[in-house]
Protein backbone atom coordinates (compact mmCIF):
# COMPACT_ATOMS: atom_id res chain seq x y z
CA UNK A 1 0.00 0.00 0.00
CA UNK A 2 1.43 3.38 -0.92
CA UNK A 3 1.64 6.19 1.58
CA UNK A 4 -0.97 8.15 -0.29
CA UNK A 5 -3.48 5.33 0.02
CA UNK A 6 -2.70 4.83 3.64
CA UNK A 7 -3.34 8.44 4.31
CA UNK A 8 -6.56 8.29 2.38
CA UNK A 9 -7.90 5.70 4.74
CA UNK A 10 -6.80 7.28 7.97
CA UNK A 11 -9.73 9.65 8.47
CA UNK A 12 -12.20 6.79 8.04
CA UNK A 13 -10.44 4.42 10.38
CA UNK A 14 -10.33 6.92 13.21
CA UNK A 15 -13.87 7.91 12.32
CA UNK A 16 -12.87 11.52 12.49
CA UNK A 17 -14.04 14.26 10.21
CA UNK A 18 -11.98 15.78 7.39
CA UNK A 19 -10.36 18.65 9.19
CA UNK A 20 -7.63 21.11 8.38
CA UNK A 21 -5.28 18.76 10.24
CA UNK A 22 -6.08 15.76 8.04
CA UNK A 23 -5.73 17.91 4.93
CA UNK A 24 -2.34 19.09 6.09
CA UNK A 25 -1.16 15.55 6.70
CA UNK A 26 -2.33 14.70 3.20
CA UNK A 27 -0.01 17.40 1.90
CA UNK A 28 2.83 16.07 4.01
CA UNK A 29 2.38 12.58 2.64
CA UNK A 30 2.58 13.98 -0.87
CA UNK A 31 6.12 15.16 -0.05
CA UNK A 32 7.00 11.67 1.10
CA UNK A 33 5.54 10.35 -2.12
CA UNK A 34 7.87 12.54 -4.18
CA UNK A 35 10.82 11.33 -2.11
CA UNK A 36 9.78 7.72 -2.78
CA UNK A 37 9.77 8.33 -6.47
CA UNK A 38 13.21 9.86 -6.32
CA UNK A 39 14.41 6.69 -4.59
CA UNK A 40 13.13 4.71 -7.52
CA UNK A 41 15.40 6.59 -9.90
CA UNK A 42 18.67 5.77 -8.14
CA UNK A 43 19.23 2.24 -9.43
CA UNK A 44 18.15 2.81 -13.07
CA UNK A 45 20.37 5.89 -13.30
CA UNK A 46 23.33 4.02 -11.81
CA UNK A 47 22.86 1.19 -14.30
CA UNK A 48 22.78 3.71 -17.16
CA UNK A 49 26.00 5.33 -15.94
CA UNK A 50 27.82 2.02 -15.54
CA UNK A 51 26.55 0.86 -18.94
CA UNK A 52 27.78 4.06 -20.55
CA UNK A 53 31.17 3.73 -18.88
CA UNK A 54 31.55 0.06 -19.90
CA UNK A 55 30.58 0.83 -23.50
CA UNK A 56 32.97 3.76 -23.74
CA UNK A 57 35.74 1.75 -22.17
CA UNK A 58 35.36 -0.76 -24.99
CA UNK A 59 34.28 -3.60 -22.71
CA UNK A 60 30.85 -3.88 -24.39
CA UNK A 61 31.02 -4.40 -28.17
CA UNK A 62 29.16 -1.54 -29.94
CA UNK A 63 27.34 -3.91 -32.31
CA UNK A 64 26.17 -5.98 -29.35
CA UNK A 65 25.24 -3.41 -26.75
CA UNK A 66 25.87 0.20 -27.80
CA UNK A 67 26.18 2.95 -25.20
CA UNK A 68 23.02 4.77 -24.09
CA UNK A 69 24.38 7.94 -25.63
CA UNK A 70 24.77 6.16 -28.97
CA UNK A 71 21.14 4.96 -28.78
CA UNK A 72 20.02 8.49 -27.95
CA UNK A 73 22.01 9.87 -30.86
CA UNK A 74 20.53 7.27 -33.24
CA UNK A 75 17.00 8.26 -32.22
CA UNK A 76 17.91 11.92 -32.52
CA UNK A 77 19.35 11.49 -36.01
CA UNK A 78 16.31 9.57 -37.21
CA UNK A 79 14.10 12.24 -35.74
CA UNK A 80 16.01 14.98 -37.54
CA UNK A 81 15.97 13.02 -40.79
CA UNK A 82 12.18 12.77 -40.38
CA UNK A 83 11.43 9.10 -40.97
CA UNK A 84 11.19 8.37 -37.25
CA UNK A 85 7.99 10.43 -36.97
CA UNK A 86 6.49 8.50 -39.80
CA UNK A 87 7.16 5.19 -38.05
CA UNK A 88 5.96 6.40 -34.65
CA UNK A 89 2.83 7.91 -36.17
CA UNK A 90 1.85 4.76 -38.02
CA UNK A 91 2.33 2.60 -34.93
CA UNK A 92 0.34 5.00 -32.75
CA UNK A 93 -2.39 5.08 -35.39
CA UNK A 94 -2.61 1.28 -35.45
CA UNK A 95 -2.84 1.13 -31.69
CA UNK A 96 -5.45 3.90 -31.61
CA UNK A 97 -7.71 2.36 -34.26
CA UNK A 98 -7.33 -1.17 -32.88
CA UNK A 99 -7.94 -0.06 -29.31
CA UNK A 100 -10.97 2.06 -30.20
CA UNK A 101 -12.60 -0.84 -32.02
CA UNK A 102 -11.82 -3.13 -29.07
CA UNK A 103 -13.12 -0.59 -26.54
CA UNK A 104 -16.34 -0.06 -28.48
CA UNK A 105 -17.00 -3.78 -28.94
CA UNK A 106 -15.94 -4.62 -25.38
CA UNK A 107 -18.12 -1.87 -23.93
CA UNK A 108 -21.15 -2.89 -25.97
CA UNK A 109 -20.90 -6.62 -25.32
CA UNK A 110 -19.74 -6.16 -21.73
CA UNK A 111 -22.68 -3.88 -20.91
CA UNK A 112 -25.11 -6.19 -22.71
CA UNK A 113 -23.99 -9.34 -20.94
CA UNK A 114 -23.58 -7.53 -17.64
CA UNK A 115 -27.08 -6.09 -17.67
CA UNK A 116 -29.16 -8.80 -19.33
CA UNK A 117 -28.79 -12.31 -17.88
CA UNK A 118 -30.16 -13.83 -21.09
CA UNK A 119 -27.46 -12.11 -23.17
CA UNK A 120 -24.85 -13.42 -20.77
CA UNK A 121 -26.11 -16.97 -21.02
CA UNK A 122 -26.10 -16.73 -24.81
CA UNK A 123 -22.81 -14.96 -25.39
CA UNK A 124 -20.51 -15.38 -22.42
CA UNK A 125 -19.60 -19.08 -22.91
CA UNK A 126 -18.63 -18.41 -26.52
CA UNK A 127 -16.56 -15.32 -25.70
CA UNK A 128 -14.89 -17.07 -22.77
CA UNK A 129 -13.83 -19.98 -24.95
CA UNK A 130 -12.50 -17.60 -27.60
CA UNK A 131 -10.55 -15.89 -24.85
CA UNK A 132 -8.70 -19.07 -24.01
CA UNK A 133 -7.17 -19.12 -27.50
CA UNK A 134 -3.94 -17.09 -27.46
CA UNK A 135 -4.68 -14.12 -29.74
CA UNK A 136 -1.46 -14.64 -31.73
CA UNK A 137 -2.80 -18.03 -32.80
CA UNK A 138 -5.31 -16.25 -35.03
CA UNK A 139 -2.56 -14.57 -37.07
CA UNK A 140 -2.37 -17.14 -39.89
CA UNK A 141 -6.14 -17.00 -40.31
CA UNK A 142 -6.18 -13.21 -40.25
CA UNK A 143 -3.41 -13.12 -42.87
CA UNK A 144 -5.31 -15.56 -45.03
CA UNK A 145 -8.61 -13.71 -44.72
CA UNK A 146 -7.51 -10.12 -44.50
CA UNK A 147 -4.15 -10.01 -46.28
CA UNK A 148 -0.90 -8.62 -44.94
CA UNK A 149 -2.03 -5.00 -45.07
CA UNK A 150 -3.45 -2.88 -42.27
CA UNK A 151 -6.69 -4.81 -41.73
CA UNK A 152 -5.09 -7.95 -40.35
CA UNK A 153 -2.89 -5.92 -37.99
CA UNK A 154 -5.84 -3.92 -36.70
CA UNK A 155 -7.83 -7.12 -36.27
CA UNK A 156 -5.10 -8.68 -34.14
CA UNK A 157 -4.74 -5.58 -31.96
CA UNK A 158 -8.52 -5.26 -31.52
CA UNK A 159 -8.90 -8.90 -30.60
CA UNK A 160 -6.16 -8.72 -27.99
CA UNK A 161 -7.46 -5.51 -26.42
CA UNK A 162 -11.11 -6.59 -26.48
CA UNK A 163 -11.13 -9.19 -23.72
CA UNK A 164 -10.06 -7.17 -20.69
CA UNK A 165 -12.54 -4.41 -21.56
CA UNK A 166 -15.36 -6.90 -22.06
CA UNK A 167 -14.56 -9.01 -19.04
CA UNK A 168 -14.06 -6.21 -16.53
CA UNK A 169 -17.24 -4.40 -17.53
CA UNK A 170 -19.39 -7.52 -17.69
CA UNK A 171 -18.26 -8.88 -14.33
CA UNK A 172 -18.46 -5.49 -12.63
CA UNK A 173 -21.99 -4.88 -13.87
CA UNK A 174 -23.10 -8.24 -12.60
CA UNK A 175 -21.65 -7.51 -9.19
CA UNK A 176 -23.01 -4.06 -8.48
CA UNK A 177 -24.04 -4.05 -4.83
CA UNK A 178 -27.75 -5.02 -4.80
CA UNK A 179 -28.15 -2.83 -1.74
CA UNK A 180 -27.27 0.21 -3.82
CA UNK A 181 -29.62 -0.91 -6.58
CA UNK A 182 -32.35 -1.04 -3.97
CA UNK A 183 -31.77 2.64 -3.29
CA UNK A 184 -32.52 3.24 -6.98
CA UNK A 185 -35.68 1.20 -6.60
CA UNK A 186 -36.75 3.30 -3.61
CA UNK A 187 -36.48 6.41 -5.75
CA UNK A 188 -38.35 4.70 -8.57
CA UNK A 189 -35.63 4.95 -11.21
CA UNK A 190 -36.51 3.35 -14.54
CA UNK A 191 -34.06 0.97 -16.26
CA UNK A 192 -32.37 3.74 -18.17
CA UNK A 193 -31.91 5.92 -15.07
CA UNK A 194 -30.77 2.83 -13.15
CA UNK A 195 -27.96 2.30 -15.65
CA UNK A 196 -26.99 5.95 -15.95
CA UNK A 197 -27.27 7.02 -12.30
CA UNK A 198 -26.31 3.83 -10.45
CA UNK A 199 -24.76 1.05 -12.50
CA UNK A 200 -22.40 3.09 -14.69
CA UNK A 201 -20.93 5.16 -11.85
CA UNK A 202 -20.68 2.01 -9.73
CA UNK A 203 -18.69 0.07 -12.35
CA UNK A 204 -16.55 2.98 -13.53
CA UNK A 205 -13.44 1.98 -11.53
CA UNK A 206 -13.46 -1.60 -12.88
CA UNK A 207 -14.26 -0.34 -16.37
CA UNK A 208 -11.27 2.00 -16.28
CA UNK A 209 -9.07 -0.92 -15.19
CA UNK A 210 -10.37 -2.90 -18.17
CA UNK A 211 -9.67 -0.06 -20.58
CA UNK A 212 -6.18 0.36 -19.16
CA UNK A 213 -5.25 -3.28 -19.49
CA UNK A 214 -6.83 -3.31 -22.95
CA UNK A 215 -4.63 -0.44 -23.98
CA UNK A 216 -1.57 -2.22 -22.60
CA UNK A 217 -2.45 -5.31 -24.62
CA UNK A 218 -2.99 -3.17 -27.73
CA UNK A 219 0.65 -2.08 -27.43
CA UNK A 220 1.74 -5.66 -26.97
CA UNK A 221 -0.08 -6.84 -30.06
CA UNK A 222 1.04 -3.96 -32.26
CA UNK A 223 4.61 -5.17 -31.70
CA UNK A 224 3.60 -8.70 -32.67
CA UNK A 225 1.70 -7.47 -35.73
CA UNK A 226 4.55 -5.31 -36.93
CA UNK A 227 7.21 -7.94 -36.30
CA UNK A 228 5.22 -10.43 -38.35
CA UNK A 229 5.32 -8.32 -41.49
CA UNK A 230 5.17 -4.60 -41.93
CA UNK A 231 6.86 -2.01 -44.08
CA UNK A 232 6.57 0.78 -41.55
CA UNK A 233 6.11 1.33 -37.84
CA UNK A 234 8.32 0.88 -34.80
CA UNK A 235 8.11 -2.91 -35.06
CA UNK A 236 9.35 -2.68 -38.61
CA UNK A 237 12.27 -0.51 -37.41
CA UNK A 238 13.22 -3.28 -35.00
CA UNK A 239 13.18 -5.91 -37.72
CA UNK A 240 15.17 -3.56 -39.92
CA UNK A 241 17.71 -3.01 -37.14
CA UNK A 242 18.04 -6.75 -36.70
CA UNK A 243 18.52 -7.37 -40.45
CA UNK A 244 21.17 -4.69 -40.74
CA UNK A 245 22.84 -5.62 -37.48
CA UNK A 246 22.28 -2.26 -35.80
CA UNK A 247 21.49 -2.91 -32.15
CA UNK A 248 21.11 0.82 -31.52
CA UNK A 249 18.02 0.95 -33.73
CA UNK A 250 16.46 -2.06 -32.00
CA UNK A 251 17.11 -0.63 -28.56
CA UNK A 252 15.95 2.80 -29.70
CA UNK A 253 12.67 1.29 -30.91
CA UNK A 254 12.25 -0.55 -27.64
CA UNK A 255 12.73 2.73 -25.83
CA UNK A 256 10.20 4.47 -28.07
CA UNK A 257 7.68 1.69 -27.51
CA UNK A 258 8.15 2.13 -23.78
CA UNK A 259 7.72 5.90 -23.99
CA UNK A 260 4.60 5.69 -26.19
CA UNK A 261 3.03 2.96 -24.06
CA UNK A 262 3.74 4.82 -20.86
CA UNK A 263 2.41 8.09 -22.30
CA UNK A 264 -0.91 6.61 -23.38
CA UNK A 265 -1.25 4.72 -20.11
CA UNK A 266 -0.60 7.93 -18.22
CA UNK A 267 -3.20 9.78 -20.30
CA UNK A 268 -5.72 7.02 -19.67
CA UNK A 269 -4.95 6.93 -15.96
CA UNK A 270 -5.23 10.69 -15.62
CA UNK A 271 -8.57 10.72 -17.40
CA UNK A 272 -9.71 7.91 -15.14
CA UNK A 273 -8.56 9.65 -11.99
CA UNK A 274 -10.46 12.76 -13.08
CA UNK A 275 -13.62 10.80 -13.78
CA UNK A 276 -13.41 8.92 -10.50
CA UNK A 277 -13.02 12.15 -8.58
CA UNK A 278 -12.43 11.90 -4.86
CA UNK A 279 -14.19 8.67 -4.21
CA UNK A 280 -12.39 6.06 -2.17
CA UNK A 281 -12.25 2.50 -3.23
Amino acid sequence: MSTAEQNHRLPRKESTTPTAESLRSEKRSRHIHVADRFLGWIIPLSILLIWEALARGGILAPNWLPAPSVIARTIYEMAVAGDLWHHVAITVARVAVGFLIAAAAGTFLGALTGYLPIARKLLDPLLQSLRSVPSIAWVPLFLLWLGIQETSKIALISLGAFFPVYLNLSVAMRHVDPKLLEVGKLYRLNSFQMVRRLILPAVLPEYMVGLRSGLGLAWMFVVAAELLGASSGLGYLMVDGQMTGRAAIILGSVLLFAICGKATDWAMNTTGAKLLGHRAR
Binding site: S15, T17, P18, K179, E182, K185, R188, L276
Partner: protein, 266 residues
Protein backbone atom coordinates in the same frame (compact mmCIF):
# COMPACT_ATOMS: atom_id res chain seq x y z
CA UNK B 1 -65.29 14.12 -3.59
CA UNK B 2 -62.98 11.43 -2.35
CA UNK B 3 -60.60 12.15 -5.19
CA UNK B 4 -60.43 15.79 -4.21
CA UNK B 5 -59.60 14.93 -0.63
CA UNK B 6 -56.80 12.69 -1.87
CA UNK B 7 -55.39 15.52 -3.94
CA UNK B 8 -55.43 17.82 -0.97
CA UNK B 9 -53.53 15.26 1.03
CA UNK B 10 -50.99 15.01 -1.77
CA UNK B 11 -50.37 18.72 -1.74
CA UNK B 12 -49.83 18.94 2.00
CA UNK B 13 -48.09 15.69 2.82
CA UNK B 14 -46.39 16.57 6.09
CA UNK B 15 -49.33 18.28 7.74
CA UNK B 16 -52.17 15.86 7.19
CA UNK B 17 -50.78 12.52 6.08
CA UNK B 18 -48.94 9.62 7.56
CA UNK B 19 -51.68 7.25 8.73
CA UNK B 20 -50.77 3.61 8.11
CA UNK B 21 -53.24 0.76 8.10
CA UNK B 22 -51.51 -2.58 7.94
CA UNK B 23 -53.35 -5.82 7.45
CA UNK B 24 -51.17 -8.74 6.47
CA UNK B 25 -52.63 -12.23 6.43
CA UNK B 26 -49.29 -13.85 5.74
CA UNK B 27 -46.00 -13.40 3.96
CA UNK B 28 -44.06 -16.47 2.85
CA UNK B 29 -40.69 -17.07 1.31
CA UNK B 30 -39.99 -20.05 -0.91
CA UNK B 31 -37.06 -22.07 0.48
CA UNK B 32 -35.62 -25.41 -0.43
CA UNK B 33 -37.60 -26.99 2.40
CA UNK B 34 -40.82 -25.51 1.06
CA UNK B 35 -42.73 -22.39 2.00
CA UNK B 36 -41.52 -20.54 5.06
CA UNK B 37 -44.04 -18.26 6.72
CA UNK B 38 -42.21 -15.18 8.00
CA UNK B 39 -45.20 -13.01 8.84
CA UNK B 40 -48.59 -14.14 10.02
CA UNK B 41 -51.77 -12.27 10.88
CA UNK B 42 -50.55 -8.74 11.44
CA UNK B 43 -53.06 -5.95 11.70
CA UNK B 44 -52.09 -2.60 12.95
CA UNK B 45 -53.02 1.07 12.61
CA UNK B 46 -50.45 3.80 13.05
CA UNK B 47 -51.58 7.39 13.56
CA UNK B 48 -50.17 10.34 11.64
CA UNK B 49 -47.12 11.71 13.43
CA UNK B 50 -46.82 8.70 15.71
CA UNK B 51 -43.44 7.19 16.60
CA UNK B 52 -43.66 3.41 16.62
CA UNK B 53 -40.82 1.02 17.43
CA UNK B 54 -40.92 -2.62 16.45
CA UNK B 55 -38.73 -4.85 18.62
CA UNK B 56 -38.01 -8.49 18.10
CA UNK B 57 -35.25 -11.03 17.97
CA UNK B 58 -33.40 -11.80 14.78
CA UNK B 59 -35.49 -13.73 12.29
CA UNK B 60 -38.85 -12.57 13.62
CA UNK B 61 -39.70 -10.88 10.33
CA UNK B 62 -39.47 -7.31 11.58
CA UNK B 63 -37.26 -6.25 8.68
CA UNK B 64 -39.59 -7.98 6.22
CA UNK B 65 -42.49 -6.06 7.73
CA UNK B 66 -40.62 -2.79 7.26
CA UNK B 67 -39.72 -3.72 3.68
CA UNK B 68 -43.41 -4.33 2.99
CA UNK B 69 -44.21 -0.87 4.34
CA UNK B 70 -41.46 0.56 2.12
CA UNK B 71 -42.91 -1.16 -0.92
CA UNK B 72 -39.76 -3.24 -1.49
CA UNK B 73 -41.69 -6.45 -0.84
CA UNK B 74 -44.92 -6.64 -2.78
CA UNK B 75 -45.55 -10.37 -2.84
CA UNK B 76 -47.67 -11.03 0.25
CA UNK B 77 -51.26 -11.68 1.23
CA UNK B 78 -52.80 -8.55 2.66
CA UNK B 79 -52.89 -4.80 2.22
CA UNK B 80 -50.99 -1.79 3.44
CA UNK B 81 -52.68 1.58 3.13
CA UNK B 82 -51.11 4.96 3.60
CA UNK B 83 -53.74 7.66 4.15
CA UNK B 84 -56.29 5.40 2.56
CA UNK B 85 -54.30 4.65 -0.60
CA UNK B 86 -52.91 1.19 -1.18
CA UNK B 87 -49.13 0.79 -1.14
CA UNK B 88 -48.02 -0.98 -4.32
CA UNK B 89 -44.33 -0.14 -4.45
CA UNK B 90 -41.72 2.34 -3.28
CA UNK B 91 -42.58 6.03 -3.39
CA UNK B 92 -41.18 9.31 -2.17
CA UNK B 93 -43.97 9.52 0.43
CA UNK B 94 -42.08 6.90 2.43
CA UNK B 95 -38.45 7.60 3.31
CA UNK B 96 -36.27 4.60 4.17
CA UNK B 97 -33.10 4.37 6.25
CA UNK B 98 -31.31 1.02 6.28
CA UNK B 99 -28.92 -0.47 8.81
CA UNK B 100 -26.07 0.39 6.42
CA UNK B 101 -26.08 3.99 5.27
CA UNK B 102 -26.20 2.95 1.57
CA UNK B 103 -24.84 6.29 0.40
CA UNK B 104 -23.47 6.32 -3.12
CA UNK B 105 -19.68 6.55 -2.78
CA UNK B 106 -19.22 8.54 -5.97
CA UNK B 107 -21.53 11.37 -4.90
CA UNK B 108 -20.91 14.15 -2.41
CA UNK B 109 -23.05 14.40 0.69
CA UNK B 110 -25.08 17.10 -1.07
CA UNK B 111 -25.66 15.01 -4.18
CA UNK B 112 -26.53 11.95 -2.12
CA UNK B 113 -29.27 13.85 -0.32
CA UNK B 114 -30.43 15.27 -3.67
CA UNK B 115 -30.51 11.80 -5.27
CA UNK B 116 -34.29 11.39 -5.23
CA UNK B 117 -35.02 15.02 -6.07
CA UNK B 118 -34.15 14.95 -9.79
CA UNK B 119 -37.58 16.24 -10.72
CA UNK B 120 -37.21 19.47 -8.74
CA UNK B 121 -35.78 22.70 -10.16
CA UNK B 122 -32.11 23.11 -9.16
CA UNK B 123 -32.72 26.06 -6.84
CA UNK B 124 -35.54 24.27 -5.03
CA UNK B 125 -33.45 21.12 -4.82
CA UNK B 126 -30.49 22.93 -3.28
CA UNK B 127 -32.78 24.69 -0.82
CA UNK B 128 -34.23 21.37 0.32
CA UNK B 129 -30.88 19.62 0.56
CA UNK B 130 -29.46 22.45 2.63
CA UNK B 131 -32.51 22.47 4.88
CA UNK B 132 -32.23 18.77 5.70
CA UNK B 133 -28.46 18.77 6.03
CA UNK B 134 -28.87 21.65 8.43
CA UNK B 135 -31.49 19.66 10.32
CA UNK B 136 -29.10 16.75 10.86
CA UNK B 137 -26.22 19.15 11.63
CA UNK B 138 -24.09 18.43 8.57
CA UNK B 139 -24.43 21.61 6.55
CA UNK B 140 -20.67 22.12 6.58
CA UNK B 141 -20.05 18.70 5.09
CA UNK B 142 -22.08 18.95 1.92
CA UNK B 143 -19.02 18.71 -0.31
CA UNK B 144 -17.48 15.79 1.58
CA UNK B 145 -17.64 12.25 0.18
CA UNK B 146 -19.13 9.36 2.15
CA UNK B 147 -15.74 7.74 2.81
CA UNK B 148 -14.68 10.88 4.65
CA UNK B 149 -17.54 10.58 7.14
CA UNK B 150 -17.80 8.60 10.36
CA UNK B 151 -20.51 5.95 10.77
CA UNK B 152 -22.80 8.28 12.70
CA UNK B 153 -22.39 11.09 10.19
CA UNK B 154 -23.11 8.74 7.28
CA UNK B 155 -26.30 7.59 8.97
CA UNK B 156 -27.31 11.22 9.53
CA UNK B 157 -26.83 11.84 5.79
CA UNK B 158 -28.97 8.77 5.11
CA UNK B 159 -31.69 10.22 7.33
CA UNK B 160 -31.44 13.55 5.50
CA UNK B 161 -31.73 11.70 2.18
CA UNK B 162 -34.81 9.84 3.38
CA UNK B 163 -36.41 13.10 4.59
CA UNK B 164 -35.53 15.12 1.49
CA UNK B 165 -38.44 13.67 -0.46
CA UNK B 166 -40.78 15.11 2.23
CA UNK B 167 -42.15 11.67 3.16
CA UNK B 168 -45.24 11.21 5.28
CA UNK B 169 -43.65 8.17 6.87
CA UNK B 170 -40.03 7.60 7.82
CA UNK B 171 -39.06 3.91 7.97
CA UNK B 172 -35.86 2.94 9.75
CA UNK B 173 -34.43 -0.59 9.82
CA UNK B 174 -32.06 -0.93 12.79
CA UNK B 175 -30.49 2.37 11.78
CA UNK B 176 -28.11 2.64 14.72
CA UNK B 177 -27.24 -1.03 15.20
CA UNK B 178 -23.74 -0.71 13.77
CA UNK B 179 -22.83 2.41 15.73
CA UNK B 180 -20.96 2.49 19.02
CA UNK B 181 -23.00 2.96 22.20
CA UNK B 182 -22.25 6.65 22.70
CA UNK B 183 -22.90 7.58 19.08
CA UNK B 184 -26.10 5.56 19.20
CA UNK B 185 -27.44 7.61 22.13
CA UNK B 186 -26.54 10.84 20.35
CA UNK B 187 -28.25 9.62 17.19
CA UNK B 188 -31.40 8.69 19.11
CA UNK B 189 -31.62 12.22 20.48
CA UNK B 190 -30.95 13.57 17.00
CA UNK B 191 -33.74 11.45 15.53
CA UNK B 192 -36.19 12.65 18.19
CA UNK B 193 -35.30 16.23 17.36
CA UNK B 194 -35.81 15.59 13.63
CA UNK B 195 -39.13 13.86 14.32
CA UNK B 196 -40.35 16.74 16.49
CA UNK B 197 -39.32 19.24 13.80
CA UNK B 198 -40.81 17.36 10.84
CA UNK B 199 -43.81 15.67 12.48
CA UNK B 200 -43.61 12.68 10.17
CA UNK B 201 -44.86 9.27 11.17
CA UNK B 202 -41.86 7.15 12.18
CA UNK B 203 -41.62 3.35 12.20
CA UNK B 204 -38.30 2.12 13.58
CA UNK B 205 -37.24 -1.50 13.73
CA UNK B 206 -34.73 -2.40 16.42
CA UNK B 207 -33.57 -5.19 18.69
CA UNK B 208 -32.51 -2.70 21.34
CA UNK B 209 -35.29 -2.51 23.95
CA UNK B 210 -33.93 0.58 25.64
CA UNK B 211 -33.80 2.35 22.28
CA UNK B 212 -37.43 1.45 21.64
CA UNK B 213 -38.62 2.66 25.04
CA UNK B 214 -36.55 5.84 24.75
CA UNK B 215 -37.99 6.78 21.35
CA UNK B 216 -41.43 5.33 20.83
CA UNK B 217 -44.99 6.33 21.58
CA UNK B 218 -45.81 2.65 21.22
CA UNK B 219 -43.55 -0.38 21.31
CA UNK B 220 -44.64 -3.38 19.24
CA UNK B 221 -43.16 -6.65 20.43
CA UNK B 222 -42.83 -9.28 17.73
CA UNK B 223 -42.48 -13.00 18.24
CA UNK B 224 -41.01 -15.33 15.69
CA UNK B 225 -41.99 -18.39 13.68
CA UNK B 226 -44.24 -17.18 12.35
CA UNK B 227 -43.56 -13.51 12.94
CA UNK B 228 -46.49 -11.78 14.47
CA UNK B 229 -47.18 -8.92 16.84
CA UNK B 230 -47.27 -10.35 20.31
CA UNK B 231 -48.09 -7.25 22.27
CA UNK B 232 -48.32 -3.49 21.99
CA UNK B 233 -47.00 -1.42 24.89
CA UNK B 234 -47.68 2.31 25.06
CA UNK B 235 -44.94 4.53 26.45
CA UNK B 236 -46.69 7.52 28.02
CA UNK B 237 -43.62 9.44 29.05
CA UNK B 238 -42.86 13.01 27.98
CA UNK B 239 -39.71 13.75 25.99
CA UNK B 240 -36.86 14.08 26.81
CA UNK B 241 -36.98 10.77 28.64
CA UNK B 242 -34.61 9.86 31.42
CA UNK B 243 -33.15 6.39 30.93
CA UNK B 244 -32.58 5.91 34.67
CA UNK B 245 -36.06 7.12 35.58
CA UNK B 246 -38.20 4.71 37.60
CA UNK B 247 -41.12 4.66 35.16
CA UNK B 248 -38.71 4.22 32.23
CA UNK B 249 -37.15 1.20 33.90
CA UNK B 250 -40.55 -0.25 34.64
CA UNK B 251 -41.64 -0.04 30.98
CA UNK B 252 -38.33 -1.42 29.82
CA UNK B 253 -38.77 -4.35 32.15
CA UNK B 254 -42.29 -5.01 30.91
CA UNK B 255 -41.00 -5.11 27.32
CA UNK B 256 -38.23 -7.42 28.45
CA UNK B 257 -40.77 -9.66 30.17
CA UNK B 258 -42.67 -9.91 26.91
CA UNK B 259 -39.49 -11.13 25.34
CA UNK B 260 -38.76 -13.85 27.81
CA UNK B 261 -42.30 -15.04 28.07
CA UNK B 262 -42.60 -18.38 26.35
CA UNK B 263 -42.68 -18.43 22.55
CA UNK B 264 -40.94 -15.15 21.84
CA UNK B 265 -37.33 -16.17 21.94
CA UNK B 266 -35.81 -19.56 21.62
Amino acid sequence: MAVMVDELALNNPATTGGALEISIAHKTFATRQGLLTVLHDISLAIDPGEFVCIVGGSGCGKTTLLRILAGLETDYAGTVRLDGRGVAGPDLNRGVVFQEHRLLPWLTVHDNVAFGLARLAPAERTRKVEHYLDLVGLKNFQYAYPHQLSGGMSQRVAIARALAGCPEVLLLDEPFASLDALTRIRMQEELLRVWQAERTTVVLVTHDIEEAVYLADRVLVMSSEPGTIKNVLPVDLPHPRERTDHEFSRIRKSVLDEFFARGTLE
